[in-house]
Symmetry: C3
Subunit: 367 residues, 3 copies
């Protein structure tokens, strides 16, 4: 599977957003994550639960059912399963419940306005590995807006590489930058443990349209400014890109950050299948916090821009599946960040495959 | 293929409804049965014919053509095939017809308002194996209503097991029964040759809504009654479930059967492919025979209730194909009837597979 | 693959229409031909170019981009490729372009109002192999009408055999001929190098409806006439059928060709995939040249008639894929032309397969 060999394609030991928290307001939902059907619901105390989504009796989707206490009740024949342990706690028309049975349970935490699950080894599910609330726009002085789930008909890796290769902004989203100065700007790449940052700093004029929305047309200025565009790769499930961040303005000593604040775009990437991805969209800002009209306008603009990526990824996915490549990839200098992220992910996949092999050697019965 | 091993999945030596008789009123139709395209049409004397549905010349669907005498004429190049023998009786632009050729013909009989075909060995196609006219609601004192064909995107076995596990009525069709008393009622299972009955007898109050339609709100009574729900498995292609049959009423010596008559639901299950099923719906009654409004209301209600099963079966089928089971099925006491039917079908499949193997040993050329 | 063995299914060394010329008026388009995605666009001088359609960088469809000079620029990251050589002439954010890289280029010529490409060995792409302008209705005294692209959900061979077996006209398009006299007429087949003609000459009355459109109801006559129907197979990508050509009229010495002129139907057959075909429709005439209303009426009629073939081919394709044949094809005398064309195509496929094998022996590295 592009760009990797077939086989192990999901990094499982990582946090991935399973849903916006508000999606559970009206009862259980089913979500496919890494080819697994998962029932998501809230228990009696409001805590989220994530469970293998098919009833072990007749394979009916559990999320069609209702929650009773901490358990979800299948709406086909009424079997009930506890959200914390997976135990079968009730079978209708009989008094006893099966003792040994456990439905698979996934670690899940609510963090920000999002529900994060850990599809890998539960023992490694450490909440400290989540991006901090400040980083995802839920800290003090920040306002977050969920833009929605944008289903993407392509493998997650295509979306990750899209987000790490900033050059595409000048073509696919040409209205967001001044093309010439953007493309001339150098690319800085910095590793930070498992994370990574790719940054372009361009000397550029006011960008009509986009800046008018973000900063307001009344705040237009004439001189050039240093505009920073940055992609921050945190993990396979979370990337942030910040576009149009003004670092300096020609002839202006102190920038008014109440006007020229920071606007961060959250890219929440959760593999659905080998060929499709849940793309949860959100952004946050540290200025114009009470401006609801700005929120509304910005959500529409954000959704439209991401839709361009969603279409592109879907077009590539369709063609990757149908047409064998005519040549090895033609890489460019601007691919550095994307290639580095690809190597990180490949290393994690290899590491997880080796761990699985070792655990099978120790416990042959598990094979 | 759930719940059986891959391979031989259709019991072929049995009668299956191919169509409601009225479906042939406007000319030939094509129906896929057990992965075979079959042309159904009426010959000169009105008798039905069933023939392999693709013209042997260019594989065009014969059912697009017209009937001339006892033969169907292909609408592509005008070849004609006799409905009784399968002989090619006419090829345009030439005088001679091919002598040896025979298009495959299936045994078919009209019985009740339905056309039944025998997809297996024609020599075994015994009309005495059909359920009687009384049993299917065409005997004296009965009125039958065809509800329609409800295409079901799931394998037939899922529908059969749905129909044999009465517990699901209390959840998926909760409005049809009083849940608590229904689920507490014991399940009786009785074998009857190749057939089988599963019965629940519950002490239960009047069921608002459903009983109001079936018996009329003017006939409401206050005391409990014995309500019988029964699934009768006749063969893989025909099951009947009778819901809300009132056996006794507390404090009532003689039940007025002109009011509290019998209402039987016919479940006609014909495999279309390994993953889809023709679900022909019909019901019959022995009371309110002249009440056309009742027919209309009941048909709508019946269709809506079955649609709940159709949706459930489709959701399970989709997931069975996509997600490997996490465990063996978690069975319950209420599964007894479904499991017994499953064993009957498995035995028939094994028997047909052995017969095929023996006939191939005798006639190696047939391999 | 019916009617041939699996494997090599496309005759590649032949001209195929890739598009109506006017389709490039609004910029590049992508077209799938023989399972290959091809970007079609016009260069600075207006000449057409055909290039492997996926950018070698991230496999994004090139046809989404714009043309700059003679090069197409990918709209994802801005890579540019020359339409004549396939060289990569520009990568943004870097000064150098890759020296050795060549994107695949296809020979393409504009001829008539159509763009023809050669999917096989470029060295054999000889424009003299195209049908002449007279033959395709662009010579003096002729008027051509493009009817449109009619996507066909079936393999090209089904369409070719449809067009070569004239018998089907009497059934699938019964309104175009007098059935009885047409079916009684003898079939003449004449080979002409790689081409072939199949002709029927029928003594037939005026055909109401069709003739009324083609010749006008005011020109009706009472006697019989000799009506010629001809299929002319030029190559796997181009067939012409002429229906309703009046050769002689009973009791008429000299036929007025300004009224009873020639009407030719062009069948442009380009394989899209193994199971689908681009069917470009057009017709031309040598009479009523200034009658625009006739053009409009005739285009609608032509489109409707071809739609009957498109539906038939789609129905056959679907069934060929699903149902194994029950017998070998039942052939008829009227199949002679179709069978001869099938043999021609089989011979070409074999020839191309042998050439490929020899070239691989000579150059093992090419394997």
């Amino acid at each position: 599977m592009y760009p990797f060999a077939e086989g192990n394609v999901y990094v499982r030991n990582a946090w991935y957003v399973a849903a916006f928290a508000e999606e559970l307001d009206d009862g259980p939902i089913e979500r496919i994550i890494m080819d697994e059907p998962i029932a998501l619901f809230r228990m009696a105390d409001g805590k989220p639960a994530a469970m293998w989504g098919l009833c072990p009796h007749r394979f009916y989707p559990l999320a069609n059912g209702i929650v009773i206490g901490d358990a979800i009740q299948c709406n086909y024949h009424g079997f009930r399963f506890d959200g914390r342990t997976g135990a079968c706690v009730k079978i209708p028309s009989q008094s006893a419940s099966p003792k040994g049975f456990r439905q698979r349970i996934y670690p899940i935490v609510e963090h920000g306005a999002w529900l994060w699950i850990w599809p890998g080894d539960p023992a490694q599910a450490d909440p400290d590995l989540l991006p901090s609330l400040d980083e995802i726009g839920f800290g003090p002085g920040w306002r977050n807006e969920n833009v929605g789930l944008q289903p993407t008909a392509g493998r997650a890796q295509l979306l990750i590489e899209n987000l790490m290769d900033l050059t595409h902004v000048a073509f696919l989203h040409g209205a967001l930058v001044d093309g010439d100065s953007f493309l001339e700007s150098p690319i800085q790449v910095a590793e930070d443990g498992t994370a990574m940052r790719a940054t372009r700093l361009a000397r550029t004029p006011w960008v009509n349209g986009f800046y008018d929305v973000v900063f307001g047309p009344d705040n237009r200025f004439a001189g050039l400014h240093e505009s920073q565009t940055e992609s921050w790769y945190h993990s396979p499930g979370y990337i942030r890109t910040d576009i149009g961040t003004i670092r300096t303005i020609e002839g202006v000593a102190t920038i008014d950050r109440a006007v020229f604040g920071l606007l961060n775009f959250h890219h929440i990437v959760t593999p659905e299948t080998r060929h499709s991805t849940h793309y949860f969209s959100a952004f946050s800002r540290n200025y114009r916090l009470d401006d609801d009209d700005f929120s509304t306008t910005m959500k529409q603009l954000d959704r439209d821009v991401r839709a361009q990526d969603v279409v592109a990824v879907g077009q590539i996915e369709e063609r990757l599946q149908k047409y064998p490549p005519q040549s090895t990839e033609l890489l460019a200098r601007a691919d550095k960040a994307a290639v580095m992220v690809r190597r990180k992910i490949q290393a994690q996949l290899l590491d997880e495959a080796e761990t699985a092999a070792i655990s099978q050697q120790r416990d042959p019965a598990a094979m």
